[in-house]
Symmetry: D3
């Protein structure tokens, strides 16, 4: 029987609008807490967007996501999985960034995740812009490169911006490949679309063996076929899942900084996660949720619904 | 030839933004009005949301729906039905609720609908939260249980909330079955989805014979196949249609209190109503439209477009 | 030297947008917590609006107020008071209401405040609609009637609504006087304005000795003169402070359900609290903050700025 | 004793959010209605903005103003006037404009007001942009020029726009003077401010004797002094009151097309109307309320609060 | 090699949020500019909405579209077309309308496009309401009638409004056929839907040979099949493309004045343009984008994404 | 007679909503333009907010300010100054920042302003967060320290944030004093308020002789008296004016990242600038306008109205 300490508060007992919002109404168990080492899956906020080249905002993401996540209940409607009973889940709090210093922030993030990994906790992150994934991977892939399923409308594989700036939310996976954190042959990027600067990122992908599935192929083949290929690419090894909310069509997820029209709808946004079944997930993130562009909170609610799907795959 | 008294004002004569807004620009014929007994289909507002367990707002629904309904014209584009010529339709006004007393409000609603049914008028209701359907059914099903086609993302079949509270917008149809207002074997619920508390509601449905079609089945089978089954379930008997706007995906209908992602789009939202063809409709409602969460009015416009489809099925 | 356990997190250490939001970034110390009895001033959320006769929303108030309160720093700019060092302050969490049962909710609220008063904690409440003040006063004034300084645009002294409904947000202080919780001769209501139903509430006030200062008098006399009279009225005895955000002009505080134009500006909204200096405050509340009508959060930020002023008067 | 037929619905009987919204919840008595000739003061909507040179929207004004006006109660807080008992007031409905033909629309408006004046009804108009005042004055001033108290941030006295266009919302009072509808020596314009094209309008004003009180003078002298002069200017003769909502500072009234910062606050916005006491008002209007720039409805609520003040001056 | 003068600014060099926004960051080359005659494709703003019968706003369209267009990059993701290198493209500025005079405005628009056509520039217009297309066609089709692919939810083929008004946004193509600007047998209208006044427009279409593809047929047949028919209808002759943003479902494109639910999604909105391949486009427009109903800018971003697709078909 | 090349477009000729928006509809004359050396006052955008410690957004300021500035006309209402005829004014464009590198961005800004100063142009800047003022001062005060009138609710004199970060929008004037760019004895800060971290900034101010006028003193003394002192402090020497929009009460200027309630209203916001009369202004800025928190654009319109006042003081 599961440990009641880690059960979320039920909306039958306390209305959803009441109470201090933690992720999915889980207990707050930061590093140093007496139950920290008992946690199996930790939900972590990374309120940081200094890598954003266009419209900032994801620094406010974790707070809005916690608020929206109080709408999440205990059981998956289809699989009947009850993740909070299957694993000891907790809200580990936020990593405190330095909004005016990129390198300092990255160091702080990696240090936090080193603690998490050290305690044997599998991290589920609420970003933050996409540069967040790089310092997380530095902790997650410390012992060797991992595979990755990457949902996004952009490759985030560019070399640099603005005449040589290497660390932006358009470059994390280029750096991660260079640093040996990702095994490019076990990386698949799904949903890529939108107008392009040039082909420098895609040429890099081709040169190292990253598989890109553009949106036209996604719509033509359908979720099941695409996800079968994704499972094959990452195989049985350790795999990270990175979900940029701009993968979803901006009508369904307006709260993000670099939208591209023509993406998946909200049902497909959930279905792709169900297609991860059987993959060995060593960490996952939901990034680029930007509250200033989502005053209604609809994007946040979709994002936490996806995070719940991710969680069900992680148990 | 139809009675011109009951014809709506045309946008060719008076711009849509002008004039006091009644439902679909119909004449206002409240109980006691000299033409009340000539009405065949009455559109009624129930501005009430005291049964809401999470985010209130549907008390403001009827006013916003009247406003949006001035965009509705005279003729159905596909069937060529002109409902306002086929039947004498009127705006019967709002039921005056008591926002601070649930039992008093339910008594007021049932009394109003008793008058409506007594005059032989078929009611099309603009809610209000979903608890509204219970006092309406007490009038509509006075002479015996009716069948129901129920579009929703929730079953609304729970036993109680917050330690024994029996009347909320999560319980109306449990009560309606208990009170003999619904024949559960002639009830079908379409679109059910979202994270679940537990399975208490679905176990009850199974125990009394209510058919639940979850969203996964809906998306897999398609509108036509699902609606064929719905028609078969309710058969030729008296049938109520209850349409919770949260049946529709919240991107298309954000103005509601308990959204669940991954639902039908706006085209499917209309098509399911067209699939009611041939059913004997003794009353219908559109509930849970919540203006505070719909500042643009888009949800209201979709809701009145659906109400026009319902009206075309009722003539 | 003050107990560092009760110090809020500084924005110099953790950016204001980071971290799980508690009131003013204080520690979360709910009833039952090991430090509960060490708290001297407790900030409490009452997420409840079932007494609202018009536009609901204050049930969402505490969450939005916690979020906005992360902008509050440690020191009062004028008085140099550092309240979090002067007293042990904590966030005591929310009272869990029953949104579908007014009497049950009132009982829950009074029970919670009985615990608070029993521990010797002075409560500062974030509502909730104005009916919240009644069950709070039932605990605060258990040992005898208290005086009250009441900032509002309405008297909330009506007898009943909708043909006999006794408990709404327009009636709490009528009930409180009837129940002997308030000493009417030590009650002053400041800022009353707007169109009126009739004079039933003001006749009652006159009959029991409540002093009403309408807005015209407030603007003519100025803050200092009015507050001097207020201090005189309540004198040296135990006094409750009830601050309805609709006291402030709705341009400065749009997030509320029953606005009345022509009220004080934000500077005056703070100054009146500074005018409470020397009063013996046994409890205070900030009510009627309604997030659905305050999407920008400006009302919430003003409300927590006022709460900080209240806190500085309570230390 | 006053005729109960013309009493508005009370919020004690029917909640403010319920019912089809008419102006101030008055009966709807359009021309041709059996009680039309019994009306003494008629509230009329002019949903028209074809004269707008910049940001359109006032065509949607009357509907939003009706909605907001359901918040108005029966009695003036200071003067104790109960206007709906003092005079038979009614909502006369909207004038139907032709949004694509300015001359046709002006003819329709004048024809409607000819009916109103013919029945001895004093009109209180809810516009519409400021060009509306011209066709209204053509009916109101049919028997001779009237005086005018004009609250605005602009003079609306320009000769023409865009190379010779004579009828825009920047020219109505130039035309009204030319057509002999206004006696310029009995016209006062209060609140004029903002950057200027040139001085052509002010030179015209000076040449015909119109008195302009710029905002700097208004702020320096105060409401009482300014309004005393205004009363003196218009004297005892027939006087029209034209209130452009952009007279008020745009922070208090954002919903308008040509805002100018630095204007009066909401309290002053009411007080100036109280300063009309004793003037013989033969008609009044509230114009330039633009819902697309007022999604919260705050401007509309202020505008109907001002309309209630105007009504109390008209009885 | 293409002329660098006409290359847009890259987001790699200047962040997308910086710089004065021209269409797609192209050089501003108005008539009279020294490079005007070198332009091959000119993007033109027509900020005008005097023909709007319901909710105005498209006069603000060009400015918002320029702003959103700074998100467009250099290359089409699928076809690899780089339109700004393939043709000399420029922002030709706005036509200055007269918002208070429809005939004067139409004359100004036609005069501007006569200059454009005279310089051999193919115009891509950002409207403006749909009446804009009429004065544009008067220039584009000066030498003989053209064919048209028309994406819309309305036919815009009505005879007149409001008792004889011939020039509104519901009548441009009736006039264009009457004036011999369009060859009706080479006109196809795609996406028609929504409630109808009557069948007067469709009867006219049938009588002159215009092909209407209603939305039900569109959804049943799919984009490819429908566009194959469209290509066949217009054939090899000169063809104009008119894209009313209300063709798209209003959830994806809320910023428009006369929405109709149940339309195509954003992916289909792009795909239909790709289906124009091989057509000889002599001009194109994107109309009815209405910023007051699109505060988030999502509609504008979709519209410029479609404009980029149109541009790629025009090179 | 003034050079017509530098006259802005008039709203009488081209409607305000038409045309590509430059600052105040001035010609666009970037460095390198043939008329650059003829410019006397240059309006410059600095779209940059990397120094923001809390809510980002000012990087989008210049674009929104240009848009709003098209509402500005040619003449000051009170002083009759026509600044665009008195001096050759132009929009010099934006400085292109590097959003992911603070030092690189500061270098770019200083380089741009070196060009401006080199051409003898007086800069009027539209920010950008307040850190922008530092690299600007490095160019403006190249030949020696300047005085400063600083309107703000914060001193921006802190030593560092987040454990040693020296360059944020809370530190620019500490650095400017340290670098010898400001003469602290000729610096006055007006409007300081809000809760405080500690007194480290104010202690620094006192130690170097900066005069701080807190908001309580401002409200008590009034605009005229305060500005007389300000003029005395800066004297006849070169003076920079830095206007942080959060000086104004956040109700009047919600679009900013770190609001503090209780500030001046919009009329006072203009009047303080008029109080600069006679000062020798060598540069001025308007900073911290944050469009994501100002969807209505009201803050931007107030800000450009203030910029026009600044401009009138600069001629």
């Amino acid at each position: 029987m599961s440990d009641a300490y880690f059960h979320p508060v039920s909306g039958f007992d306390l209305p959803r609008f009441a109470g201090i919002p933690t992720f999915m109404r889980l207990p707050y168990v930061p590093p140093g807490h007496e139950r920290f080492n008992d946690v199996q899956i930790g939900v972590i906020g990374v309120p940081w967007d200094s890598g954003t080249t266009n419209r900032p905002g994801p620094r406010h993401g974790p707070r809005q996501l916690r608020d929206a996540s109080t709408m999440i209940r205990a059981e998956h409607a289809v699989s009947r999985v009850r993740p909070f009973e299957a694993r000891a889940c907790a809200d580990l709090g936020d990593v405190g960034p330095n909004p005016a210093d990129i390198q300092d922030s990255m160091a702080r993030i990696t240090a936090f995740y080193d603690q998490v990994m050290g305690a044997g906790i599998v991290p589920l992150t609420a970003g933050g812009d996409h540069l967040s994934s790089l310092p997380i991977l530095r902790a997650v892939a410390k012992t060797g490169p991992v595979g990755m399923v990457h949902f996004d409308s952009h490759t985030d594989l560019y070399h640099s911006y603005f005449g040589g700036t290497m660390y932006t939310h358009g470059t994390p996976f280029r750096r991660a490949v260079e640093e040996g954190l990702l095994d490019p042959k076990r990386v698949v990027q799904i949903g890529i679309r939108g107008t392009q600067y040039d082909r420098e990122d895609q040429d890099f992908a081709a040169s190292v063996g990253i598989r890109i599935i553009p949106i036209e192929e996604f719509h033509a083949r359908g979720v099941e076929d695409v996800m079968a290929e994704a499972r094959e690419i990452v195989g049985a090894g350790d795999t990270y899942v990175s979900y940029d909310i701009d993968f979803v069509d901006p009508t369904f997820a307006p709260g993000t900084g670099t939208p591209e029209v023509g993406g998946p709808n909200s049902y497909q946004a959930l279905q792709v996660v169900r297609g991860l079944s059987g993959i060995k997930i060593v960490g996952a993130d939901m990034v680029e949720v930007s509250p200033p562009f989502d005053p209604s909170g609809a994007t946040a609610f979709l994002a936490v619904s996806i995070m719940f799907e991710l969680l069900c795959q992680m148990v």
